[in-house]
Symmetry: C2
Subunit: 127 residues, 2 copies
């Protein structure tokens, strides 16, 4: 089971993916140590989850040495898009504009960030 397109990671799987996206490569222990900061589950729980994710193709691993080394097998960008799509559909009646307005209106954005958004907006308007 090499690649896993359109497989939706569960909540816990997402937490692990976040660690892997951040670290690029990691052992079970490293992942578990990182998660431990704000969650408490046993080591074997993390291990099992990674094994399941491997089955699904969400991660790949190098098992050439005793201690396996894991790596994400789905990109952060694709996963973001997947979840965004789902969210737009289920909470914003399919309108990504509504979602954008919501996010803009209800969260803090620095001057620099607003400018960054303005740039992108300008580009889009040119089309």
């Amino acid at each position: 089971m090499a690649t896993a397109k359109n497989i939706k990671p569960t909540e816990s799987e997402l937490e692990i993916l976040r660690v892997l996206w951040d670290k690029e490569k990691a052992t079970v222990r490293e992942v578990h140590e990182t998660l431990s900061a704000h969650k408490d589950a046993g080591y074997t729980t993390t291990l099992k989850l990674l094994q399941i994710m491997f089955e699904k193709g969400l991660v790949k691993r190098d098992d050439s040495s005793k201690t396996h080394i894991y790596q994400a097998n789905v990109s952060k960008e694709i996963t973001q898009q997947q979840f965004m799509g789902k969210m737009i559909h289920s909470l914003f009646s399919g309108s990504s504009t509504q979602l954008v307005m919501q996010a803009l209106g209800h969260h803090e954005h620095s001057k620099e960030e607003l400018e960054e958004i303005q740039q992108l907006l300008n580009n889009l308007k040119k089309q």
Copy 2:
């Protein structure tokens, strides 16, 4: 169990909330009929779900007549914010700006919509 702040609706519950947000008030049958369009589950499944949601405070109901009339008890806006917050945290490293850019970049927006966003952006820049 009157109000249910910070209770996260499940996938199925969200589907039902969508119907209720749209219809304002509805009987179990109406909800079920609507869902039937793109999902197939038995009538009692929808009923049970609505009963559970009532327990949790996600919906309220008028049971003065035999056929109960349900109504959402959490607003679409609050729910949107909840999910957005979760998403920003779990997939965009806490940056709502990144989320906005993603949504702007990867989805279609009409000229009118872009203008609408520009308006909001202008307002934000004034602060």
